[in-house]
């Protein structure tokens, strides 16, 4: 109860004070002076000297001392950006295992951009055997002496794992470097490996701003790595199986635009089956058509016969069926009219 009583008393003391708060009222004298121009609002801020100069009729021109006036203007020379990677980052880049698939110790990407790219590389790692590690550098930066992508791969990555490591320079995709681990190098020839980087760079150069370039680069890189993996798998091998497979030189990497025709040519059984069907089916159809035409034009001749006339009829005694079609509900068989009318006088 005590704290509540104290709080209530404190608030009660504040309430009258709040009533005193408000804008100050002009005093009559000050208001008259303001209206007559004697009082200039803000004059106290300008200082007494300025007030006097403003009020005086003599407007002196204040001239600077020639010594000061003739001093040459100092133009600050732009500070030359260091092209060398800061020493504080060297360890993070080259002497430690990567913390994730995206490595940006210099915080070159915004938080959101970093999350997006890292999410994408994680997704790529889940879907493919060849993991991709991306190290980001700024556009003009140079690697410290004695450090290189190759040394990083040898020192920090397991050669038995299929891995692609990329040094990517923000804003300058053409400087990008890509190195595969030994596992991939043994399985895929040099041309195909080079193609991966080349196509990723070409895709990045389609964009203008560095962030979009990185997006396109990483997406294309992922696609090309996926295709590499497919080519290796087509030979019945797996990069994870630890077996060597060299892509045949005469079998190019499947392009996105591979058509049905290429697939058919590769599958000989299906190809020849379709070829035979393509010949036999039209031939059969032509045969059926020919038979149909021949039947349509066929002429049927019956043998000449002779017989004695019946019922003294000169030409015909063949009395056929009689059908009634009076009822739409009864079937034809029930409407056969074969009532004898021999008792009927005609």
């Amino acid at each position: 109860m005590k704290p509540a009583v104290i709080l209530t008393g404190f608030l009660a003391a504040l309430l009258p004070a709040q009533e005193d708060l408000g804008l100050p009222d002009w005093e009559d004298e000050e208001l008259e002076a303001l209206k007559s121009g004697e009082y200039v609002p803000g004059s106290s801020l300008m200082g007494t000297l300025a007030r006097e100069i403003l009020d005086s009729e003599e407007q002196e021109v204040i001239e600077l001392d020639p010594m000061i006036r003739d001093l040459p203007e100092e133009i600050p020379e732009p500070e030359e950006l260091s092209k060398l990677l800061g020493e504080e980052f060297v360890s993070s880049y080259f002497h430690q295992p990567p913390e994730g698939f995206l490595n940006d110790p210099q915080k070159l990407l915004t938080t959101q951009e970093y999350r997006d790219r890292e999410g994408f590389l994680n997704y790529h790692a889940r879907d493919t055997d060849i993991d991709c590690y991306l190290y980001l550098f700024d556009d003009p930066q140079e690697l410290p002496a004695g450090e290189s992508l190759e040394t990083l791969v040898k020192s920090q990555f397991d050669p038995e794992r299929p891995v692609a490591i990329v040094f990517y320079y923000l804003g300058d995709p053409e400087r990008s470097q890509l190195v595969f681990s030994d596992q991939v190098i043994e399985a895929v020839n040099q041309d195909e490996r080079a193609k991966v980087l080349r196509m990723a760079i070409e895709e990045a150069l389609e964009k203008s701003d560095p962030s979009s370039q990185l997006d396109s680069f990483s997406i294309q890189l992922s696609i090309r790595l996926f295709w590499l993996e497919k080519v290796v798998a087509k030979g019945g091998r797996s990069l994870l199986a630890g077996r060597q497979f060299v892509l045949p030189e005469d079998e190019p990497l499947a392009e996105d635009g591979d058509g049905i025709w290429e697939s058919l040519v590769r599958n000989e059984l299906l190809f020849y089956g379709l070829m035979v069907a393509a010949i036999l089916i039209p031939a059969a159809l032509l045969g059926i058509l020919g038979r149909w035409i021949a039947d349509k034009r066929r002429v049927y001749l019956f043998p000449d016969a002779e017989g004695s006339p019946l019922l003294e009829a000169p030409h015909a005694a063949g009395v056929g069926g009689v059908l009634s079609f009076a009822s739409a509900t009864a079937p034809p068989s029930s409407q056969k009219k074969d009532d004898p009318d021999y008792l009927q006088k005609m």
Partner: protein, 200 residues
């Protein structure tokens, strides 16, 4: 072979029905003794529109092209007073002269389809030359092929269906007679005169 009047079976050589004594003369007494002239397609009932006549004629000519020894005739009329369409057909095929049928196709090679438009009946009568290949059942089957169209009043369609069915039946008979002409002809009370050249 059945008598047109009493529907009893008669011998293929009977000069009159042994059951009722019927001959063609009895039919003449009813329908007249004078020969009548008729075209092979006669729409006495006027149920064919002009645009339907030409297709019908082509169907009939197609039949004749396929069976050069035969012809088919169609007669549509209101035969309410005719007590027996069967007898009327029998009499007509024996007494009618078809003016637009070749002379080398006598009535004995003809098939007459009679349609009584008012009485809602249709019948088929055929000449001696067709007796080995057609009978009451097969002609009734041919008429039944047109039954749904007859019911709709679609006479052109119905008659086309009937003729197509007749063609199929005759082709079947032609195949049979090629294999065993004598027995097939004997079924129709006929014998082989000379075997015509059968084209393939």
């Amino acid at each position: 072979m059945k008598c047109p009047r009493c529907e009893q079976k008669i011998h293929p050589a009977a000069t009159s029905c042994p059951h009722c004594g019927f001959t063609v003369r009895h039919a003449d007494e009813v329908f007249g003794t004078e020969e009548i002239s008729l075209q092979k397609f006669s729409d006495l009932a006027g149920v064919f529109r002009m645009k339907d006549r030409e297709p019908m004629r082509k169907v009939m000519e197609g039949f004749e092209a396929k069976f050069p020894q035969l012809f088919v005739s169609i007669c549509l009329g209101a035969f309410e007073e005719t007590k027996s369409l069967r007898q009327y057909g029998f009499w007509m095929l024996n007494r009618a002269s078809f003016t637009d049928v070749d002379l080398d196709r006598p009535n004995a090679t003809g098939i007459l389809i009679l349609v009584d438009v008012n009485g809602k009946n249709a019948s088929i009568t055929y000449g001696y030359a067709l007796m080995p290949y057609l009978d009451e059942d097969s002609t009734f089957a041919a008429l039944s092929a047109g039954h749904p169209l007859f019911l709709q009043g679609n006479y052109p369609g119905a008659l086309k269906a009937v003729i197509q069915k007749l063609e199929a039946i005759l082709i079947k008979g032609w195949r049979k007679v090629r294999k065993d002409p004598e027995s097939v002809l004997a079924q129709g009370g006929q014998s082989l005169k000379t075997v015509g050249e059968v084209q393939k």
